[in-house]
Amino acid sequence: MNKSFLSLILAVAGWAVFHFGLFPIFTPAEPGMLINRYVYFLLFCFYLIIVNVGMKLKPAMALRALYVWMLGFYFYDHILSPHVPWTLFITYMMLWTIGTFLYISQDPVTFREFRAPIVKTIIGEYKLARIVAFSVLPVLVGWATYQSIYPSFAEPVELRTVHPAPPASTKVHGKTYMLEKISNPFRIDEQDNYKDSFPFLDADKQEYMKFVTEGGTIFFQNCHYCHGDQLNGLGMFAHAFNPTPANFIDPGTIAMLQESFLFWRVSKGGPGLPNESTPWSSAMPPWEEHLTTDEIWKVILFEYWYTGWHPRTFDDESAVGE
């Protein structure tokens, strides 16, 4: 019994040293082959084994089971990174608990050994343990009941379609455009030829860069408040809106859309969205109210040039079929 107690003290003290002393060292900003959290965890496991085997402590079975279970808990809660969602965490811990019981009941001897202190507590051979356990547990049950009855409210979760299906045609400034037919009138050349050209500097020399500069000017007078100076959807007003503004750097936005889709979204804004895209809370203005058709196309040209993405295009002919 005394040796078990010594084992427990060594385990707790060892954990404290590892967790508060070594863990920060093993989790630098850029982990290496040896200095990483998993190596740290292995070291801690080795520590436990070496201390208990090396000092021949032979802790009680119940204590050993506790070590095994806690190691699992520590691993899933602290070591495994990024942390798994809590539903998955509970599933893992249930499996780990079953595993711990397998370890306990590997043969009848270990099982009885595990059971012995529990039985002794129940029948009162360990007097103090019985008093503590039998008075604390009902209080815990009462507290858990209180917690589960106490009403709590979380804001409702709302899902929305980010890129809804576009209409076949849209009417902007009195003119009807078939979205499948139109292309950007200012895309007069291959975008990649202007990777190393610069707005303002080359605007006089290259017509394409003149359009990009004009588009950028409009962007930085109107759009950056939400979509950000970096076009990453983190403008100075972005945090106030929900849904948050689109991030054009992300491969899931303008990189997978056609320019005509952008033309429709920019012209019609939030109010032009279908219901599944929550038009009532989108802060995107119907830009036809503020910009001319040409200005809208130039902004679109700029957004692709700045991010380096290429707009999706229609294939001339279907690849399958015949």
């Binding site: 209080v139 009941t145 009855i149 930085f220 990453n232 106030a240």
Partner: protein
């Protein structure tokens, strides 16, 4: 005063030299980091792709976006940089500029570039920015000098993100230093930046003192918003180009930390979104069920709650049951009609109580440095509801800017003018009473507002403007007779949003600040089962324990009596 420094530079230089002889060991003097010519070509490429849009072709702070921004982009030409570790009026170090580019300037349009540009790009663009400075010369070893200020170190060893645990004595001592040095003359009596409406920067543009209760907007906070070091640096170096001087002669380094502790103690501890450097909004406004009377006085203990997130700083015993103050983010209304690119208010704090007899109360508070004195443009704040809550299906809501043709909104607006007020008045301890008028209207679009013709139902029961903070307490019954009034059901999630107009900024109609849709819920009273179920469960469990003991003992007895044979495994 700082931009005159060029002519008197020699004098300053001599003075600085003398001071540095006097204060050997407190500061180190040297020459500015020269411009690294080999990086200019690369830096120019970065600048003309990323920076030119705000800072302009020649670095004059006059890019296309400049006129619609408040704070305006920096004009690099005079070499005036705010966030430095060097003495007032001096050029910054390379490291100062690199940190500014990496972390951005919260509260302004300057974003953090640290995660966007590569390290070598940032190094290069900083050199290019230095080459845009015309009035000063980073390479001038004779006339330019930089003296790195001595900041000491955090005497309490507190750590981020919230820097809690600074002793109250230090904070109180800081408050005395605040009073002694008259910081309130610009920053206001409670630090909301409401001291002086007439300040100008070196270029003659109007400039406002920092609001210490919104430290996430401190330009030099380097995304570590609650760190007192940021304040120590500003007190030690001043902010070049602004009326903020340094206090290196007036306040010792030790006292600067205490003052910083006081300044930072005013800033509510909220969880800050790392990406936007703003507090994360509280999207659910829970209205607390209140038994009996709800006091219609803002300064009643019933309405006192701290702005701190109770999960970060636990609430005191007597305030534990008070409603939480919810942080509501506002932005300029830049979507429809006349757009507001530079709103004066970017957040509201809302708390609420209700019961069936008294109805529902919403306390709306916000920081505003100066109120309007022009009756044609009164200050105003409004709560927006769906007018026909019962007709909405699922997550459906009216358009968040004053509704739409199919789904109207119900708006409660309080417009107010302060009594006996002039924005240049000295801070007034007891605050200003407000002349409030409430109007209710329905919106079917920002350009289709209809004042209600039914009897008014919404009242503002108390209001005050105190040390740069407006507080308005709205009241209404849960249900009304009005066809176009929102009928507020308990225990349901109800969309709610807010508008705010700053009269001082001539804001009117759709030229306003706006929030997105939030939710509010009238929380039900605590169920009675909360009081009897836990003991019942505990007693039942005690019974179970007794049964377990009895069973185990019985088994033991059966072994002892030989009625049941035990297996003979070794143990």
């Amino acid at each position: 005063m700082i931009n005159k420094m060029k002519t008197g530079k020699k004098l300053i230089f001599l003075l600085a030299l003398m001071v540095s002889f006097l204060l050997v060991g407190t500061a180190s003097a040297g020459i500015p980091d020269p411009v690294k010519q080999d990086l200019l070509e690369k830096g120019k490429k970065v600048y003309f792709k990323r920076c030119v849009w705000c800072h302009g072709v020649e670095g004059g702070g006059d890019g296309p976006s400049a006129d619609r921004l408040f704070t305006r982009p920096r004009n690099f030409i005079p070499g005036t940089f705010k966030i430095r570790v060097t003495d007032s009026g001096q050029l910054p170090t390379d490291n100062d500029l690199i940190k500014t580019v990496k972390n951005g300037l919260p509260g302004s349009a300057m974003p953090a570039w640290g995660e966007f540009l590569k390290e070598d790009e940032i190094q290069a663009v900083v050199q290019f920015v230095k080459s845009l400075v015309q009035d000063r010369d980073f390479n001038d070893e004779e006339d330019e000098e930089v003296e790195l200020m001595e900041f000491g170190s955090n005497p309490w060893g507190t750590t981020g993100p919230y820097h809690l645990g600074i002793p109250q004595e230090a904070i109180d001592a800081g408050k005395e230093i605040f009073t002694k040095n008259k910081c309130f003359e610009c920053h206001g009596g409670e630090g909301r930046g409401d001291g002086n409406p007439t300040m100008k920067d070196d270029w003659g543009f109007p400039i406002l003192a920092a609001d210490w209760q919104q430290c996430w907007n401190f330009r030099g906070s380097r995304r570590n918003h609650f760190d007192p070091f940021n304040v120590v640096r500003t007190i030690s170096t001043g902010l070049n180009g602004t009326p903020m001087p340094n206090f290196r002669e007036k306040i010792t380094v030790e006292d600067r930390w205490k003052l910083a502790a006081f300044v930072n103690s005013l800033c509510p501890r909220k969880k800050i979104d790392k990406l936007t450097s703003k507090p994360i909004p509280d999207f659910l406004i829970s209205s607390v069920y209140t038994e009996g009377d709800i006091v219609e006085k803002i300064d009643d203990p019933m309405w006192q709650s701290s702005d701190n997130d109770p999960l970060i700083i636990a609430r005191s015993e007597e305030k534990a049951a008070n409603p939480r103050r919810n942080y509501i983010a506002l932005a300029g209304q830049i979507t429809r009609g006349k757009r507001n690119f530079d709103p004066k208010v970017d957040n509201l704090w809302v708390s609420s109580r209700w019961n069936k007899d008294k109805g529902v109360y919403y306390l709306v508070e916000y920081h505003l440095r100066f109120l309007s004195s022009d009756a044609g443009f009164p200050d105003a704040v409004a709560i927006q509801w769906p007018a026909k809550l019962q007709d909405l299906f699922g997550a459906e809501k009216p358009y968040f800017i004053m509704g739409d043709s199919k789904k109207p909104v119900d708006v409660w607006r309080a417009s107010f003018m302060p009594k006996d007020y002039n924005s240049t008045n000295a801070p007034k301890e007891e605050g200003y009473q407000l002349d409030v008028t409430v109007d209710e209207f329905n919106g079917r679009g920002f350009d289709a507002l209809e004042p209600k013709e039914t009897e008014p139902t919404v009242k503002v029961v108390d209001s005050i403007f105190h040390q740069g903070r407006v507080k308005i307490l709205f009241h209404r019954a849960l249900t009304t007779d009005g066809e176009m009034d929102v009928q507020i059901p308990p225990e349901q999630f109800i969309p709610i949003s807010f508008f705010q107009w700053a009269g001082d900024d001539k804001e009117k109609d759709e030229h306003m600040a706006i929030s997105t849709w939030y939710y509010t819920i009238l929380e039900p009273p605590l169920p009675d089962s909360l009081y009897y179920m836990p003991p019942i469960m505990a007693v039942v469990f005690v019974g179970l324990q007794g049964w377990l003991v009895w069973m185990t003992k019985r088994t033991r007895k059966m072994y002892a009596d030989g009625k049941v044979k035990r297996d003979d495994l070794p143990f």
